[in-house]
Symmetry: C2
Subunit: 214 residues, 2 copies
């Protein structure tokens, strides 16, 4: 069973009968491979075999491995909505909403989580993925926190990178302690910390309530 084996021992040469759904099949196979094996370990020949197609077909559709990867990393709108709604208000449940949004995005349906997973796994070895993750960490939380204190951007970036770190440890590195915990346990511990980072308790911009510290 080598990688080149595309199923039937003698696939006919020309176009297959019926409407073509191969383009989507290739993209699906690529998303799954990139998400689970990373950019470097995913070869065009493997993706082609998964989609039961010749490798040169993948090239004809997507031009190059990088472009295929870019297509596989495209984050669906539904996943982005999760974040937009989570960062709506600045009440005392901001932390919990944000934590739940991150965990849900990486643990939801494959169609949503795989592009994020691919982005995370590819970020270290692929310049494209690195830029995308950079933008994700920088801007995702900022929509909601615009116009607050001057270090709002730093706080948003820190909270985001911390949660990405948690997700990476849990789903990619596979740290047992984190991987075995269920979502509610994680939220219980993480939410207050993230809340404190995003909405720091009374420092100087807001008036200090009397009698807090002697």
């Amino acid at each position: 069973m080598t990688a080149q084996d595309t199923g039937s021992p003698k696939a006919r040469r020309g176009r297959r009968p019926g409407a073509s759904s191969t383009r989507q099949a290739v993209l699906d196979a690529a998303r799954a491979r990139f998400a689970s094996d990373g950019f470097a370990a995913t070869t065009i020949r493997l993706v082609a075999a998964d989609a039961a197609v010749d490798a040169s077909q993948v090239m004809q559709f997507y031009g190059s491995k990088d472009e295929l990867f870019a297509a596989a990393m495209a984050i669906p709108a539904s996943a982005l909505e999760r974040f937009s709604t989570a960062f709506g208000g600045h009440d005392e449940h901001l932390g919990e909403r944000v934590v739940r949004a991150y965990l849900a995005a990486w643990e939801g349906t494959p169609a949503e989580s795989e592009p994020l997973m691919a982005m995370l796994r590819g970020a270290i070895v692929n310049e494209n993925a690195s830029a995308q993750l950079r933008a994700f960490i920088e801007s995702r939380l900022l929509e909601g926190t615009s116009g607050r204190s001057d270090d709002a951007a730093l706080r948003a970036g820190l909270a985001s990178s911390m949660l990405v770190g948690v997700v990476t440890s849990r789903r990619i590195i596979g740290v047992p302690t984190l991987a075995d915990a269920d979502t509610d346990e994680l939220v219980a511990v993480l939410a207050p910390a993230i809340q404190q980072i995003l909405v720091p308790p009374a420092t100087r911009t807001t008036p200090i309530e009397p009698g807090s510290t002697p």
Copy 2:
């Protein structure tokens, strides 16, 4: 200037005169390459060229690329001491000490930071590095927190993975907001959050001090 160029156009064939320091030179070159380029992008031929040595020499010394990588990932005792001392007590500065320990370990002298950097960069693509990072996140903080509440392991793992996430964003992904901030800024924001994760404020085990909150 190809990669194979080892400096002199016609290197003599046998052993070089004088005492041999090549073994260490190869290890140093490997550490630097693995730390800056990652496991996959680092080739034995590149390391050999950096050390001005033939590629087969690297194999003769370290057996395989994986074993060379393992040697490059060996974390020096001085770096480990940083963590051991940081997690000493459970006072109200635990968070700050831990945060500073993490940031310092990844920003100190190359001899200390490169193995950690190599571990981080390799963790996604190399099984060996993945296991090492797993162990690092799991056990590093536990030495100090043993015998506390039952979710101490979870809290320690979460704090560790969060800080690894911050370091990754700052030094590997290169998120501008985090990369441009200096250490004290980061500590100011992170320390209270990490403190809260490691030593949760007054739940039930420790008695609440009177008059803290009205």
